[in-house]
């Protein structure tokens, strides 16, 4: 499984795609996260207009095995929410980096993006985690 090079990644397995305007960004979870969660059951996302804070929980995803918190990769206001995804979580399995987006946010501080990982760094982060257990 390779991760798209144009995205940034958090240690909690969220991805972020900064738009060309430098103001908007798209947020989702990685293919590896989707696979680890197995069969998905529920997704809880914040309403449009809500503020999310980098590193803080912004939602929840539940599989038949467990419930996992979703952590905001950057601070910003929710501009769009993917309601189609909430209704059909199978989309996440098919297209986690495209149709499986969760939120679009209006980014507050662009510098926060520096705290996120590039695809290579995320790959080695995953590897070190797999070696641990």
């Amino acid at each position: 499984m390779t991760n798209p090079k144009d995205l940034k990644y958090s240690e909690h397995d969220e991805w972020l795609r900064l738009d060309a305007d430098g103001v908007h960004a798209w947020v989702g979870i990685t293919a590896q996260a989707v696979e680890a969660l197995s069969d998905l059951v529920f997704l809880d996302l914040p309403e449009v207009g809500k503020e999310i804070q980098q590193g803080e929980v912004f939602g929840e995803i539940e599989s038949v095995k467990a419930v996992a918190d979703l952590y905001a990769p950057m601070t910003g206001e929710v501009v769009k929410r993917n309601d189609a995804l909430i209704d059909d979580l199978a989309i996440l399995k098919k297209d986690p980096y495209g149709a499986g987006w969760m939120l679009q946010i209006r980014v507050e501080k662009r510098s926060e993006a520096d705290k996120l990982m590039q695809a290579d760094a995320y790959a080695s982060h995953l590897k070190s985690r797999a070696d641990h257990h």
Partner: protein
């Protein structure tokens, strides 16, 4: 050949018969029976079914089920041990089974004596000053303890402590109890040995800390060697220590939580003390605590008490079984229970080491955790668990603890014979061998049950518990 699926009982109904009149043979049910008979369509949508069909229906359903009386039930951290029949005989004695808590005190002297002795025995085993029997389940005991911890902080005028530290290996009920009591949960990561490290905890200690919840031995079956150091650090920071007693079956006569720094813990009478689990229950989750917390207990009678958490005395029927268990074995016998639980678990560990991968290699007590990392052909923990059913065993706990990928957690308990342990290990080895030679057989398992794989996503998203008459079979 799989057994045909049993139809729901409504499909067995015959509206032209009035079998329910049979019930009238019992004069105490006259009023109800008359009401039944006057309705041509049954009671509240219930159709009429003959006694013979009712008996056969539920007997057949019970045969589709699995229970500890049929064989090994090695669910990790659940301690599914045999329920000795002596306990059932004593509990069924009308002097106990028919007793009512509103009887005059003089009639209940013996019952109260038994409850006091049980509480005292649990206090001795755990090293706590006091025990409250009231909570009706392990998680209920946790919640009661968290309420007491909150009351203690508030009594000191300390209303800003809102954080509970919870290890990544904890049972989900721990953060649930803390969150339901208004606390914020902060996760503590286990170290590479599978245990908590005091240096990791120290980094999280501050004036917001209310308490830490630690399961010991933890859900990997490993004794938390730094428990006392962690407890000291937490106490110095102004917090309290809750010990989850789910795994107390490894601890009896070995260590006393109350003497190594825990302030409060719960017992599961339905795990450690052989009262029936789940539907055979009800459960019972007494708590032990030190003198500092005693005024806040549900039954302290003090103004500081959090108030009662269960009506009357709690699950009396479970107390008497646990009391008989403790009386039958004595202190030496209980110590042997823990030793043999550890021995049995380690026998399985040795027989399966090298067959299944072990994510953490540290010495384990009453249970051990394997995972699916080295299985060929993309065979998962779920496939192994399902195939084990075909071999006549209840699967172990799977995908818990959640910090281990594809966890498979095995706790045999002390009540299994060497022969049964060997049969189980042979089955596990056969299943793992099949993973290489016949993976499809695992992926489509189980093959011997009336229902094979269920659609868990559909069951979770569109749960439908109500039967509606749409067609007649």
């Amino acid at each position: 050949m799989p057994t045909p699926l049993e139809r729901v009982i409504f499909h067995r109904a015959h509206s032209d018969k009035e079998y329910l009149r049979v019930v009238a043979a019992d004069p105490t049910l006259d009023a109800i029976t008359l009401d039944f008979a006057e309705r041509s369509d049954g009671v509240g949508g219930m159709e009429q079914v003959g006694e013979v069909e009712v008996v056969r229906h539920y007997t057949r359903l019970s045969l589709l089920n699995w229970d500890i009386d049929r064989g090994l039930y090695p669910l990790g951290s659940c301690t599914m041990k045999h329920n000795p029949r002596l306990h059932e005989r004593v509990a069924a004695d009308p002097a106990y089974s028919q007793a009512h808590p509103s009887w005059p005190a003089a009639y209940l002297a013996q019952h109260c004596g038994i409850m006091n002795e049980l509480a005292a025995d649990l206090a001795t085993l755990s090293g706590f000053d006091k025990v409250c029997l009231q909570p009706a389940a392990g998680a209920h005991g946790e919640l009661t303890a968290v309420f007491m911890i909150r009351a203690w902080h508030l009594s000191r005028g300390d209303a800003t402590r809102d954080v509970f530290l919870i290890p990544d290996s904890a049972h989900g009920t721990n953060p649930a109890s803390a969150a339901m009591s208004g606390f914020r949960c902060v996760q503590v990561k286990s170290g590479p040995e599978g245990t908590l490290r005091v240096e990791d905890i120290r980094e999280l200690l501050n004036e917001r800390l209310a308490a830490i919840m630690i399961t010991n031995p933890n859900t990997l079956g490993i004794y938390e060697t730094q428990f006392s150091d962690i407890a000291d650090a937490v106490h110095k920071a102004g917090g309290l220590v809750y010990m989850d007693g789910a795994n107390f079956n490894a601890a009896m006569g070995v260590f006393q939580p109350g003497r190594i720094g825990a302030d409060v813990m719960h017992f599961n009478l339905h795990k450690t003390f052989t009262t029936p689990h789940g539907g055979g229950g009800p459960g019972s989750g007494p708590i032990g605590f030190n003198a500092t917390l005693a005024p806040f207990a549900p039954d302290s009678g003090k103004a500081e008490s959090i108030g009662r958490v269960k009506s009357w005395f709690g699950q009396w029927g479970m107390y008497i079984r646990a009391w008989v268990y403790i009386r039958t074995l004595g202190s030496i016998g209980l110590h042997e229970v823990s030793e043999e639980a550890v021995l049995n678990a380690n026998y399985i560990r040795r027989r399966l080491e090298g067959v299944l991968s072990m994510p953490v290699k540290s010495a384990t007590l009453h249970e051990s955790v394997f995972n699916d990392r080295d299985l060929p052909n993309k065979i998962t923990t779920l496939d192994v668990a399902k195939r084990l059913i075909d071999y006549g065993f209840h699967p172990p706990t799977v995908y818990f603890p959640i910090h281990v990928h594809g966890a498979l957690m095995i706790e045999p308990t002390e009540t299994e014979s060497l022969d049964e342990l060997d049969r189980f290990c042979d089955a596990m080895r056969a299943v793992v061998a099949e993973a290489a030679t016949d993976p499809e057989r695992l992926k489509s398992a189980p093959h011997t049950t009336c229902v094979s794989r269920v659609d868990e996503v559909l069951a979770a998203r569109s749960l439908d518990l109500r039967w509606v008459a749409t067609e007649r079979g």
